[in-house]
């Protein structure tokens, strides 16, 4: 008749201590990986949105003219040679025709700061960059009924400085679970027209 020996109390205690150490390590690893995944997700979303806004803003400014640019805190208005569809056109002498005004400004949409863009056609196309009338400022576009497009969400700052090159600075930020995520992009653009 065989007798099987069981575990002693010290052996059980050591086994429990080791198991709890391993489980604590695994739990920490799991929590860290969840936090890392969240950080990656939020920062990529901010980055994508910020870069998309920067790409469009850079293109519009590169096609513009410093004489036709007005910057204000949190916004800008500029002339553009593209029509409302997005096409460039020249007159019979090959001169580029200026077709519309573009305005970028920051405004909250459903409690989230966004970068908005509005366009307005010039009454008559011009063969030189339009000088912006005093009344055509960011406030005019803010209050106009012109439809807007949302370029970026969670955008906190838009800064435009310099004349040619024009320096652009966009800052996006978002707080998730008490953690602040911030993306800042900067670019210098030379206005070609």
């Amino acid at each position: 008749m065989s007798r099987r020996r069981g575990l002693t109390l010290p052996e059980m205690l050591v086994a429990c201590a080791l198991a709890s150490l391993v489980l604590t390590g695994l739990a920490t690893l799991f929590v860290q990986s969840v936090r890392y995944h969240r950080a990656l997700e939020v920062s990529l979303e901010l980055q994508q949105s910020n870069l998309a806004a920067m790409a469009l803003l850079s293109r519009d400014l590169s096609e513009g003219n410093p004489a036709s640019l007005r910057t204000e805190p949190g916004g800008l208005v500029m002339g553009s040679p593209r029509d409302l569809v997005g096409n460039l056109q020249a007159d019979s002498q090959g001169r580029l025709m200026w077709r519309k005004y573009i305005c970028y400004y920051l405004a909250p949409i459903n409690g989230v700061n966004c970068l908005l863009r509005k366009e307005q056609a010039l009454p008559v196309p011009l063969d030189t960059a339009p000088i912006l009338p005093d009344t055509l400022d960011v406030l005019f576009f803010r209050t106009s009924a012109t439809p807007y497009s949302v370029l970026a969400r969670n955008l906190e700052q838009l800064e435009i400085s310099g004349s040619n090159p024009v320096s652009i600075r966009l800052v996006s930020s978002r707080t998730v679970a008490n953690e602040l995520f911030r993306i800042e992009s900067r670019s210098d653009v030379v206005a070609k027209n």
Partner: protein, 119 residues
């Protein structure tokens, strides 16, 4: 006692062999984030160029500095992009976007290309 020592030595060997992987994993994560940003940038430049239409597409270049702050750690990277529009007879145009950046003294790049047929 002997069993314990063998187990400890084995565990030690395993841990020591895994240790060099940690910096590599960390570098891989950083490179992955840079690559993701570069691909975003390249795709956006490609979309902007394509939106100009077949006749209006033109080559361009520029740079964007991106500062990411996550948990008070700031990481700054400069991305240089170049858009090259080339004719491919008889009726095609290629748009090649290259984004370059430097990471730990390594020059890295990403490319995105599209072909456009004449309307």
């Amino acid at each position: 006692m002997l069993e314990m020592m063998v187990a400890t030595v084995l565990a030690g060997v395993i841990l020591v062999s895994l240790a060099p992987l940690l910096p590599q994993l960390s570098r891989g994560a950083v490179t992955g984030r840079h690559r993701m940003a570069a691909v975003h940038l390249a795709q956006q430049q490609l979309e902007l160029t394509l939106s100009q239409g077949y006749a209006g597409m033109s080559s361009t270049s520029g740079s964007i500095v991106l500062d990411s702050t996550i948990r008070d750690v700031v990481q700054s990277t400069r991305y240089d992009y170049e858009v090259v529009v080339a004719d491919r007879p008889p009726d095609l145009r290629s748009v090649l976007v290259t984004v370059r950046w430097t990471e730990a003294e390594r020059a890295l790049s990403e490319q995105v290309e599209a072909l456009v047929v004449s309307p």
